[in-house]
Structure formats: C-alpha cells, structure tokens
Subunit: 671 residues, 3 copies
Amino acid sequence: MLHGADYNPEQWEKYPEVLEEDIRLMKLANCNVMSVGIFSWAKLEPEEATFTFEWMDKLLDTFHENGIFAFLATPSGARPAWMSEKYPEVLRVEANRVRNLHGLRHNHCYTSPVYRDKVTTMNTKLAERYAEHPAVIGWHVSNEYGGECHCDYCQEAFRDWLKEKYQTLDALNDAWWTTFWSHTYSSWAQVESPAPHGESMVHGLNLDWKRFVTHQTLDFYRHEVKPLKAVKPEMPATANFMELFEPLNYAKMADDIDIISWDSYPLWHDTSDPSYRAAYTAMNHDWFRSLKDGQPFLLMESTPSLTNWQPISKLKKPGMHNLSSLQAVAHGSDSVQYFQWRKSRGSSEKFHGAVVDHLGSEHNRVFQEVKELGENLSQLDEVVGTTVDAEVAIIFDTENRWAVNDSQGPRNSGVHYERTVTEHYQAFWEQGIAVDVIDSEKDLSKYKVVVAPMLYMVREGVGENMEKFVKNGGTFVTTYWSGIVNETDLCFLGGFPGPLRKTLGIWSEEIDALYDGQTNHVKVIGNNELGLSGEYQAKELCDLIHLEGAQALAQYGSDFYAGRPALTVNDFGQGKAYYIASRNDRSFHKEFFEKLADQAGLTRATGGTLPVGVSAQVRTDGENDYLFLMNFSGESQDITLAEGEYQDHVTGEAVSGNVTLTSYDVKVLKK
Amino acid sequence: MLHGADYNPEQWEKYPEVLEEDIRLMKLANCNVMSVGIFSWAKLEPEEATFTFEWMDKLLDTFHENGIFAFLATPSGARPAWMSEKYPEVLRVEANRVRNLHGLRHNHCYTSPVYRDKVTTMNTKLAERYAEHPAVIGWHVSNEYGGECHCDYCQEAFRDWLKEKYQTLDALNDAWWTTFWSHTYSSWAQVESPAPHGESMVHGLNLDWKRFVTHQTLDFYRHEVKPLKAVKPEMPATANFMELFEPLNYAKMADDIDIISWDSYPLWHDTSDPSYRAAYTAMNHDWFRSLKDGQPFLLMESTPSLTNWQPISKLKKPGMHNLSSLQAVAHGSDSVQYFQWRKSRGSSEKFHGAVVDHLGSEHNRVFQEVKELGENLSQLDEVVGTTVDAEVAIIFDTENRWAVNDSQGPRNSGVHYERTVTEHYQAFWEQGIAVDVIDSEKDLSKYKVVVAPMLYMVREGVGENMEKFVKNGGTFVTTYWSGIVNETDLCFLGGFPGPLRKTLGIWSEEIDALYDGQTNHVKVIGNNELGLSGEYQAKELCDLIHLEGAQALAQYGSDFYAGRPALTVNDFGQGKAYYIASRNDRSFHKEFFEKLADQAGLTRATGGTLPVGVSAQVRTDGENDYLFLMNFSGESQDITLAEGEYQDHVTGEAVSGNVTLTSYDVKVLKK
Amino acid sequence: MLHGADYNPEQWEKYPEVLEEDIRLMKLANCNVMSVGIFSWAKLEPEEATFTFEWMDKLLDTFHENGIFAFLATPSGARPAWMSEKYPEVLRVEANRVRNLHGLRHNHCYTSPVYRDKVTTMNTKLAERYAEHPAVIGWHVSNEYGGECHCDYCQEAFRDWLKEKYQTLDALNDAWWTTFWSHTYSSWAQVESPAPHGESMVHGLNLDWKRFVTHQTLDFYRHEVKPLKAVKPEMPATANFMELFEPLNYAKMADDIDIISWDSYPLWHDTSDPSYRAAYTAMNHDWFRSLKDGQPFLLMESTPSLTNWQPISKLKKPGMHNLSSLQAVAHGSDSVQYFQWRKSRGSSEKFHGAVVDHLGSEHNRVFQEVKELGENLSQLDEVVGTTVDAEVAIIFDTENRWAVNDSQGPRNSGVHYERTVTEHYQAFWEQGIAVDVIDSEKDLSKYKVVVAPMLYMVREGVGENMEKFVKNGGTFVTTYWSGIVNETDLCFLGGFPGPLRKTLGIWSEEIDALYDGQTNHVKVIGNNELGLSGEYQAKELCDLIHLEGAQALAQYGSDFYAGRPALTVNDFGQGKAYYIASRNDRSFHKEFFEKLADQAGLTRATGGTLPVGVSAQVRTDGENDYLFLMNFSGESQDITLAEGEYQDHVTGEAVSGNVTLTSYDVKVLKK
Ligand SMILES: [Zn+2]
Ligand SMILES: [Zn+2]
Ligand SMILES: [Zn+2]
C-alpha cells in the first residue's frame, strides 16, 4: 500500500537542511512514495537547452538509499518563463481569441509544434536518465490536464478532426442541424470553435468541440508518453484526474492510461448532510475504479488537513483523516497520497494542508494523524490489487452530461444532472450495496441492476444495449428527460423516450418544469408490485407520460396531470424496466431502491440495513473479503454484521454480531 | 382572423415526407397563414450570387393550392457564413470595440455598405419573384430588430446624426453639460459611442446614442423595404416587435411600419400573482395597439406550450392557450401566430414549443388545443378590423425610460419604472377599463384620464400638452420623480416638477430613498374629496413636497416628514391634476383609481366590478361591441354583466345577468 | 474654521447671473472657502497651448473682494479630449492590456512622458499666475488619486522599481517564492504586472505591484507639486483622500502632503446599527488624523444631503448634517467642505447633494441646515489647530490589508479584515476613549494600549517594535491570523505567530474556518485576572493554540477543540500581551475592552460610560479641552459628565453633571 505525497524540494534549495530533515520525517510518517518533478521545468531547464538534472539525481538517490519510491513527473503542467517569452505560440488562446500572458499553470497550447517539441526533448531526457533508476516506479504525466486552446493551430486541428469524423460538410450540416438560423457552412474554413462573441448556440458544434478537446488532450498525453515508453515500455504511466471533472471525457482516456489516479478534496464537515458528502465522495472513487473496469486506482492527491482554495478551509476533525483515506482504499485505491509533503513558504498554495507544516517538525496533530494512518496502511498490503464486485451500475456519462447541461430548456435554471446521479447513487450507498459508475456505452451484461438517471443523450447502440440487458433479465431504471437526443443532439422523432420507449413501455408526451420551491406529489398506487407505501415530493421536472404496456406504480397528486403515471414498471423479456417520471425527494429514493434491491436480490455488505451515515464496502480478491465499516455520522453507531466470523484486520481479533463504531471510526474486517 | 406560425421547411429538406404531412396538419389545425423565409438566407443564396428559389416557389405554390397564405420574410436576421467570411465588415462591433465572429443571429452592422447592398439584392429578388404570388399577403421584414454596432461606419453615422441635430459642437456641449469633468469636445472626431472602457457617464451622450440606434435601425428598415415597395407598394410590411423592448423606441418606428406585429411570451403560471401577469401582458398588447392609434395588430409569435429560453419552461395548463390567445384578440390583435409550426430537430431552439412536436403527429394535447383555438378563431372573423375605445391613457415613454434608468440617483438599486407603470395600468385592468399606452408626445385630447407615472423626462412641449389637457377638463395623474429633466437630461431649474409644477400646484423640495424592506405610511386626510378611507404603505421613494395651490388628500405617517403631503389634487382650469408623492402598494392603487374612475365617469366593460383575476375588454366597430370575458384566476368566477342582452359569439346563445367562467375560460359576447 | 465647497462656475458660463447669486448665497451660508479648478482643464486650455485663465482671474478676484478664500486645484484628474485624441499614450491601459478610450476621469497614465509634460506646463502656469493671489490659501492637487496603468511605460517603470528594490533576479525569485509552479524569472523582461489572463497568483508580485502603484502615484504627485512649490514653497498642498481606500498606501504618501484632507460620505441612516456607522466614520477620521501624527486634517468633501452614487440616496434627517460635520471636527478636522456648492444641471453627478439645489435659492431645508452649521462653525475658531491625545492605537496597516485580502485560505469567502478592525475600534469609541489608527511601522512609545487585529503580515522590525512596547509596560492585543508572513508574503517558519510568539507566549498550531452561520463558544475561565464573566460567540475563524507561558482567560466551548484556550494573556516585561484566538461577537469586544481599559487606566472623555449611540471626543491644545458630545442614536439620551465645570461653547452657559442630547444633537463643551 503506497503512502506519500507530492514533493518539491527544489523550492527549498536555499534551505539546505530541509532535504535531510524531510527524509527523517517521511520515514517517521510511514511514507514510502513521493511524486517529484511536478512543475519543475524551470529547475530542470532554467535556460533553453541548458539542463540541470543534478538536484533530481541527488533526490532520487537519496530516496533509494532510504527505501522511498518515486513517481517521476513530466513537467509540462507549467512552462518556464523563457519559453513563453521566446515562443508565444506555446501560450493558450482563450475562447475570446486573446492569447494569455505567461502565468499560472496549465496555460499551454496542446497543439503548438514548439511546445510539443520541447515536451519531447524534456521527456526523452527524463526517460533516458531516470527510467531505470531503482527509486522510480512510475510516470506522473503532467498534472491535472484541463482547459482548452482556441489558437489557429487548434482551429486547424479541430477542422481536421471534423473532416475525419464527418467526411463531408453536408454530413456535418445535417448532424448539427445548421439550417436553423442560416448556420449552414459552405466551406470548412468557416467552422470555428465556440466563442462568446461568435457561435455558442449550435449544440452539435459545442458537443464536438468538447469531444475534440478530449481528443486533443489525449493526443497530447500520447505525445508525452511516447518518449517515456520508448525507453521502458513496462513502466506504468498515470495522469492524475479530478473530481467529477466535466471538461474532459475520462472514459475516452482511460484505455491509454496505465493506472487511473485522482485528486480528492471533499468538503468534509461542510453544511450538507454528512451522508451526502460521504456518498458523493464514494461515487467519485467508484467512478475512477470503474474507468478501467475495476482495476485499483491511486489516490494521487488529498489533504491531511484542509485546502487553501475552497471557500471555507475547514480542519479535518480527529479521525476524519484516517476515515477519509481508508474510504478511498475501501472503494479500490491502492494508495493514499497528498498534495503536498511540505507546505511552500510562499506563493499561492502555501496554506494548502501538508504533512509537514510551516512549523517544520512532527510535533503537531496533522503529522501525528498522518503517521497513524501510515501505520494502518502498512497493515493493509494484502488488500492491494483486490477489487470491488458490483451488481449495480449507475450510468454517469460525460457526453450526456455535456449535452444535458448545454441544452436550452426545459429548465435553464437547473436540471442538476450531477446531483441527481449522486442521489440515485446514495440510495445504494446507504444500503451497503456496491456500485460501478460507468459510461453508457459500457458492457452491461455483468450487472443485475442498471440505473441511468436523466439519460438525455442515447448514442447509437446504447438503446439496443439497454434493451438487450432487460430482455436478458436485468432490471433497468431510468427517469424523465431520457431518450431525447442522439449523439449530435438531434431529437428523436416519433415520440420520446426514443430508443428506450419500447423497453420502458411508456410514451412521454410533454414535460413540465416547476419553479424552485414548487412541488407536486407522487402517490403510490395501492397494492403495487414493489410494495411501496409512501407519498413523496416531486420537484423541478415532471414528465407527462402514457402507458404503452408498462403499469403505473405511482401517480401525480396535483396540478392538471394529477392521476397520471409518475412511476412505472414494464415487464420486458426476462427483466423489468422502471421509469421515474419526476425528480423526487430522498424518501422516494430510499424506499424505492430498497424495495428494488430486495426484488433484484442485490447483495448488501453487511447483509442488512445500516445506521444513518455509516458506509460498508467490500474489496475482494475472490477468496478473501475485506469489509470496510466506516462511520461518517459524527456520532457513535452500532452495526449488525451478517452471519459469520470476521477478523479485525488491525487488531487481529475475531468479530461477529454487533460492531460499534465511534465517530469517524473505521474498521477493516476480513472474512 | 389569421391563425398560423413561422415555418421553415428548408430544415426538413432531407425528410421529404414532412411538407405534405405539414399541409395536412395545418388544415387540421385550422391554420391559414405561415411566415416563411425567416433566417433562410443560406438556403436562398447558398453561395454569393447563386440563388436557389425553387424550394420557395414550391412551398408557396403548395400553400396556394391548399388555401394557406404566407407572410414572406426578408432573411436579413442572419447572414450566411460565406458573407461573414468574405466581408467581415458585415459583422457587428460590440461596445468593447471588438468585432464579433460569425455566429448566432442579429449580428450585422446596419450601416455596412456591403450588408446594405446584399440586402438590396436579396430583397429585390424576393419582391420581383413573389410580390404578386397569390399566397403572399405581406412582408415579414427581417426578425426582431435589436442590438447595436460600434464600428467605424457606425461611429461616422452617429457623428453625422449629431451634426444634423445640434449643428454646432457648442450646442452639443451645452446640451450634454460636458463642462463637468472636462468632457468638452473640441472636434467632432472626439465624439464616440459609449463604451465600458471609455465614456459611460455623460447621460446626454448615452441618450443620443440610443436615439441614434433607433434612427439607424429605422433607416435600415427603410432600406429593406424600399425594393419591396418598389415592386408592389400596396403590399403591407411588418417588423415583429418584442415585449416592453427597451433598446429601440418603437414609437419612432411605428409610422413606417404598415402593420404592427409582436412576439408575446408571457410567463404564464409563474410565481407572481396571476392578475399581475395577465395585466402585464394586456399592457403590452395595448401598447402595441396604441403605437398606431388603435389600428389592430398581429400577434406574430407566441407559443402553444412553452419556450426553451425562459428560466423555467412551464407548460400551459389546459385552457390557457385558448385564453391567452383570445386575450391578444381582445386587446386588438387580428391574428394568433406561433413560433413555430414544427419543432426543429436540432440546434438551440429545438425545445421551443411548436404546433407539431418531435412526435410528428396531431395526437398530443398541444396540437389539440391549437386546433380548438383555430375553430374558435374561425368564428371571430367579424372582429377583424375592430378596435378598442379607451378613455384612459397611460404614458409609457421609451425615452423617459432610457433616461430614468440611466440616472445616477436617487435609488441606484432600482426605481422600477416598468413595474411601476404596470402597477398603475393594472388598477384599470382590474376594473375592466380600457387603456391606451402611449408616448408622452401623443395627442391627449381624446382621453378623460391621463396617467404618467415617474415622468422624469419632460420633453419640449410635453408639459404644455399636459397643462392644456387639464385646463380643458382632463384628469391628470403623475407621481414622484416627474418633471426632473429635459430631453438631453438637463435638470429643470427653479423647482421641480419643472414644467408640471403649475398644473399640479405643488413644489417638490427633495426626495428620500428607502432601503428595500423599509416603509412609510400614507394616511388619508378625513373627508378628502375623493372619499379615500384607507391607510397604505409607501416604499422606495418618498417625495417631500409643498402645496402651491393643490390640496392634500393624504399625508406621510412617519419619519421626519410625517404629516407632509403624500397625495395631492389641484383644480386647474376645467380639470384636476393629482400628484402621488411616493411609490405605494397595490391597495393604494386599487382604491385610488376606483375612486378616480368614478369621479371621472370612466366606462367599465361590465359596468361594475370584476372578480379577482378576471379581465373584461371590449372591441368595437362603433356599432357592435364584442365583450371578451377572461378568467386568469385559476378558479371558477361569476361575473355580473351590465344591463342588456348579449349573444355568446361561439354558441350563439343569448346571455344576460350573471356569467360563470370556469378556470382559464373565456367568453366572447356580442352586444 | 473653514466652511465651503467645490465650486465649478465654468459649468454656468451660459448662465451669467449665477456667479453673482452664488457669492450672495455663500455669504448667507457662512461659507469662507471654495475649491476651484477641479476638472477644469478643458476650460483652462481648450486647445493645445491655448490658455484661457480670464474666467479664473475673475473668479478669484471676486472671491477676494467678498472675503472668500480658495483652494486652487491642478486639473489633472481629467484630461481634455484633444489631448487623448492627439496623444493616446496619456490614456490608461487596464490590466487586460487594452488601452481605454477617452472618457470618465482618472483615466491617465501616470508614467506617460507626454502627460507629465502637459501637467508641468499647466501647473507652472497656475503657480505663476495664482500662487500670490490673495484669495488662494492652498493647492488642491488633482482629485482623489487612484487606479493603475499597465502600459509599456508603466511596465518598464515597475521593472526599474523592482531592480532597485531587489538588485538581483535571484533575490526577487526568492522573495516571491517563484519556484512554485515553475514561475522562476530568468530575465527582468519576463516580469509583468498582474493580469487576469496572465499572472495573478504570485502574492509577492501582487504585493509589489500594489506598492509600485503607490510609489508611482506618489511620484506623480511630487511631479505635480514641483512647479507649484518652485513658485511659492510655503503654500500648502493637499491631495484629497478617500474612505478606507485600499488601492493606495496613504501611510507612504502622508509625508509628502502638507495637509491631509479627505472626502467623507458615510451611509447615514442605512440599515446597520447607528453606533456601527458612526464608529466606522469616526475611525476614518482618526485614521486620517493619525497619518500625520495628530496634525488636524480637512474634511475636503462631504454632502449636505445625499449622494447620487450610493445604492440608496437617503436624505440626512434634520440635525444629522450638523452632527456629522461636527463629528469630523471632533476628531481633528479644521474644516467642513462639500462636494459641491451648486448642483450641476447635467451629466453624471447632477443629483449629488449640494448646498445650492437646482432650485437655485436659499429657500430649502438643506441650505438652511448648511447655514446653521456655518454659524456653529464660526464659533469654533479656537478649536482650529488643536489635536486629539490618544492613549490607544489601533493598527490598520494597508500592506497587511493587501496581503490578508489576497491570501488564498483560510477563508476565501471572507476574513473581513476591515470590519474586524472597525469592531475593535468601536469598543473604544463606545467608551469615549480616543484612538489613533496607525500603520504597523509607527512609533508605539506614546501609547498605553496597542491593538493589532489580524496582523497577518509582520514586516521587518515590527515584531521587535511590539516586543519592546510590551517589555516597556505597554498592553498589546492581537488576534488569530497574526504573525503569519513577512513583507513579501513568505510564511514564518518554526511556528506561528512568528515574531510575535515570544511576546504573546503562545503557539498557534492550526486554524479552523467556520461556515457562515456556524459558531463556537468562548467561555471565560472562573476567576480570570480581567474579571470577565460572560460567554461569547465565536465565528469565521478559530485559532487552535498552545500556551507557552501565557495563561488562558477563556476557552472554546465546542467542537473537537473545546477546552482549548480562546483568550490568553502573557505577562511580558513590564507589560501584558493578549491574544484573541477567534473572531468574536460584539458582546465580547464590549466586555473585554472595558475591563482592559480599566486595567490599563485609560482616560474616558466623560470619565464614565456612555449611552448607546452616544460618542464623546476631546480636542485639546494642552490647556483647553473641547469636549464634543454627539448623539447618533436617533433618540434622546442623558450623559453624565465627569466632575468639574464645563462651558457650552455655543450658548456660553455653564454645564455640569448631566447633559441631555436630543436625537442627532451635538454639544461642544469647553473645560
Ligand atoms: Zn492552440
Ligand atoms: Zn457598424
Ligand atoms: Zn502607463
């Protein structure tokens, strides 16, 4: 189990005692890996073609002597000032078509030939010098890829990408429905990226631009990795991802990346419900694990205390650091890493929590909690490589997200796609049911239940995929505002939800939007097959549907559509397809998904229900199960285990029956 | 009575079955007119000087064969991409002096010689080819004119306009009070349009720039119409206007436009009071009817269901489509038209409500409601050409609006001019009293009552106009923050309300602004001549006035000006002039304007009071009266008619005494 | 005692009767000084090198004939249009690197050689012509300096300034901690001012840029003053300052300015607590007085009624004009002056309150209140030149303010530095204890108590200064988030609060941020040495500290740090050092600073407590004390005087024992 942090000793060049002290503290904190070289270009190549690797040599040698491993970064996340000065083309052009000045980070054009050349030179040198260094265990490629460039190089690359995709302008015009407002393109040169002072309303263009940004970022990643792999193909590479990151479609990048890693900064102890915050974070972990079909990921960055960039920098309460770190492990992480090891003395992130504070010693709470976690992690080595077996998949589809958020209507003040997906996820999390979080094009055959909230965009083959899944006995759940458009945002003709209509056995005639604060009611129909008995609140969007084979389980309680179906189920093939017609409150999700889990025979980690705020997750190698019990509630909680004997993985004691978890406590039980 | 929609079959070129099906559905929906060619430039001239009118030929011929008429649009609302590519000067320059890229719509420079040439060529061709086509009944010129351009051509045109207006720089400097902050211009070339990074605080400049924008837009309209009229002078032309549109002074454009038309998208069923929403919409209708002195207008666009661009796209509840459409007719519309006939499959407005949904058939609620309305409209042909006789005029003056909203002080957080005008209007609407909504320069002689809320700007002659009106027996009502500046925003010297002071018999010494949530009280004085008896709340602005011949009807109840006049009346000549010194609550408007209506002997549509949320409006040809009773309340309501026999215009039944209207019901009674 | 206003008769050139009438009204209003020539460049030099001083000659002669004095302004606050037209370099370039168009005011580059030349020519001519004019008593240099320019001239000047400060790039890189994110500069030319599309996160750069802006503004001021002083060195010059102005460090400019003056526009009668508003205004007065170590200042601008630029333009209630004007005098002003004498007829500030309204006569409330104040002021001539003896200093440090507000973390949603300083100030204001408001580098030896809220930045020597102050018997109070960084925003290593740690006897381990609405409790410890007995609320930031010699007086009541010290005192040398660990509520400040004042033996103006909303301030020449009693509460209040006999300075009556002040009343008592 890896435990470590980003480390930039080059910031402390003028403080020569620091490196030695850091090594002592790393060992004290049970840290065994450091990510180095991130943003170090100016130290590695202070002038053009003048390379200064000596400090890195020394650093890696020192690590090796002390049993510490390294992820070695390529430094492309920021350029040295000399490069921007000499080659302005390396700087990004924003959507307003103004080229940035030098500054910040992530401010490069990923198409610029000069920048690509410079990256190749640098990465080649790094690979040649360090690929075989015994301390180096992987490549940390750049840092948190993101952003876009609208320069002429990028416009040209975008047009080339479009030509390859559409072949003819006529096909592009059809796909983007450009006849509207006379937007028809008559030459490729007329196509430009979206701009605030140009085109912004052609959704097909917006979507394809976002696809291109992912494509070009991935292309840049491949360009970065090429010289690295040339030297040592088997050395794994990662590019650290971010929380529910919208601008890039990670699902398209996952194949090229050897190990998924991500940077997790939950708003622990914020004013939301602790269950929501914990479930939301869990969903992120599950998403990253699912990107490579269950392969363990790395928690590449996190903070042992607080961030400097959130609106409120709240301290982690005692225990929360251990709990939140082990939550990552519970969901599939094989590491706990931090940004950063030692707080910078100056510049923008100097107040970002780190293992070593400005204090400079081990004598503070944060260091001690890191140290204790390190001890716990060192006992979990056998969990490394195990995965999570999920019977449920939630569709969280980035292209759908782009499309549904870019849509004009039916509720421009917010359809809350991400929050809605999370609410569906949370209903399983509360039951201790493992979930994969996947793109809509993924294979569904291994799941018992697939939930696709607000699946607005149904791309080629996806409807067929769902249909086949249900036909073969799966349980499929989707909601209002699904099955509306195809991959270029053209509406399905002939009746919504388009390709899902047959499977669901319903037709959606129209959809009503509610103002904030307005509600309708969802009343269950007596003796419904799921045994639902409550009455729930609906808000935001209410779909007005007709039954076409499905049966209604609940109906609306008010407005002119009172009595019309609000929840339906369709028996289709060997399976069942549910349609939730409105955005409902938490009590609906709770009851509905509990009944559904019973009906579908889903496995719960503890076999039964869990107290509020408690999560139970299982990692397994197929033989051994590691049950993580985690208490996010802020109060002590009693959990009833399933029948059988467990072994506390830390104390080694046998456990069965009831387990008590104090506030922010976590237990790892082996079965 | 016209019934129809915008129609763009060129979007469905690749779906050849659509046109035939549309014709079938149009007839089924009782539609008899379509607006075609809007935004069709790229289909009419796909390459420079290559014209493709064949599809339009076929479309119009098909219409003619099926008894459907057409408003034929000029396509200038959007340019083809080739034009922007070859002639960048056709693109607009925003106030930041950056030229837009191609995109969106309404993105043209209205001064550009190239654009004007292209428009002349296109419009000439359209006129020559279609002016005599039997299906074509009018020109739909461009679409929703709006916006402004700050390019060099426009700067030059602005300076020319200023030279003609002021003749000398000295006169301009005096009129704009440029000595302040050393703003004196010493050459015409120094004058530039307002800019966020340049001049923005010279109110005279801001005002004249807005006047110029209207002037130049109108000049462009004349340029558009010229080739059309050259071929067939008697063919009417319209340019569709928008709800309380601020950037253009429609009052200056009305003479040039043969028929007023407008696009109405009320926020039905929003969270405001239904009476307010209905009255606000009614006021718009009355404004557009009043623009050409009562000549019926066209409802050029509306939606049968919802829009895609409002924050919340709310469905029209059953009945509301019929009610809202007939409301337009009640206030003077001779048509009900939609944007659009068939929902686009893609691009930005694909979710805007249309007669034919993506479903593609007549089998949905929206289509059926359109169809029923079509039947109702077909029985109202004799209403066409009738007008509304109003004894009351409300001054809603666009130049005043520009000035009062641009003013710094006395309440930068909001004086709410538009809302205040609406609240005054609503007090008449609730009584079933017909109102004209007019510019302050209009002839007042035909009215009994003229209400001018917040008439901050009193242009040359307007004060005299009001004075004469009262002298001759009229009742004039105005409020705080009136009579402050002349046409270039120079304050009247010697005491406010300047030119209105004598007529009103009061002097305004100073004005107090209240924070949101703060109130004062308006207490009526016992035995006041109007018989007012309530106590009201004042907010936002309280004028501190002195009587100069007027008598006080009410006084303030608190703050250091407690006891000072809050409402006054001045007997002047044969008439009366009222001054409302503060922004008051609805209960004030209700009681005050009821008493005033009694005193002035105003005609109420039903002779008496109306239930809350019910509107009564009369169209007349002088001989026959058509009484529209409309229930916006969401509940069933009983209305007592004036003495006499009515005939239900739909059922033909005789009606008298009491009439019951269910929720969203409307009845048309002939007398 | 000066009483007067800004006066721009050149706006009324076309109204020839105005000047004579104004002279009559000035005398009637007891006005004896006018500021003239502000923004008059276009009237003084209407074309390049054509000067028209005749109107100014006449104006000053007329003043002299009528016993009115003048502050003569240099007109650099706005340029004539011909200058911008001919020399675009005089216009400012904003941070986005776009040059402004001509317009507004304060829109000049202060580095531009052309602009500096033009200023020299103009100021030389003004000095030569008017320095000896008998009416002129001082120079009013430009107007409200502010803003910044990012043009190439300014970039070059910035680099020169940096070179002088740091000598080497290496030193600059170290000071700004540029290694972070590879920001290391390898040539001076790479250094640019902060930009929204360039660098914005290097806090050392941000800070130095702000320092440079002050430096360059001061340099421009010196450039302005040079030709003035060349003619008559003894004629005093001032540059009017603004309320808690952030962009310039006035402390660095005070030495060069002969007399401090400022423009005060409090939000009287807003929705905040009247005590807060009055104390906040008082703090500003004290700040400006303290800039030159107690030398009286001028109230250069204020309004007799309302402003035109605040969100709500509220009238001053009767009495408030007198009260607020005398408040300025009470705190050290030797004048009461207005913007402006006569309301402009047009342009942006025409609704800003003035002595003479658009009415044009003396027959309104505002004029009468100005006149009465004038009478009162004419009886206070002996107060001129007296000062305020303060035993307390509050540190309000502009560089600290820049740094603490630019900091990322620990509470980006707001640490509220200015409000926090004010709350500390208010606790003394409520007790009638005089306070100086000073920069952290000032000499502290004359004070008994020094309070330094949130002293985040502790520059070289400042910690030593505080330490010496306490050692010598002073009482020092500071708070959480103090002693964090040095002058270039580099964190102190080894434990916070860095240089203050020893004096305070505590170590700050970490700091918790609370969400808006969240609170902790501060519970006093029984028998604490100050005798505190209450329980208080903490919010926003809670520092987690350890005692290192200090003793705890109070502790936190909740969260995981319940029981840890929340308020400490350290006996150090002859003095005491207090540490307030959290942002506390008003009741804490009230009780804590009352006990502290007792303990430190501070002098209260009335010897005892004051009713809520009443302020008591003393000006003194060492022999005579002038006690100002001021009632801001809006209600009548009784005040108990200290033993002894006072003389009412207006009525001449003897006063002792109890004094009653009606609402907004003020009394000046001489002892
Ligand atoms: Zn690029
Ligand atoms: Zn233009
Ligand atoms: Zn400059």
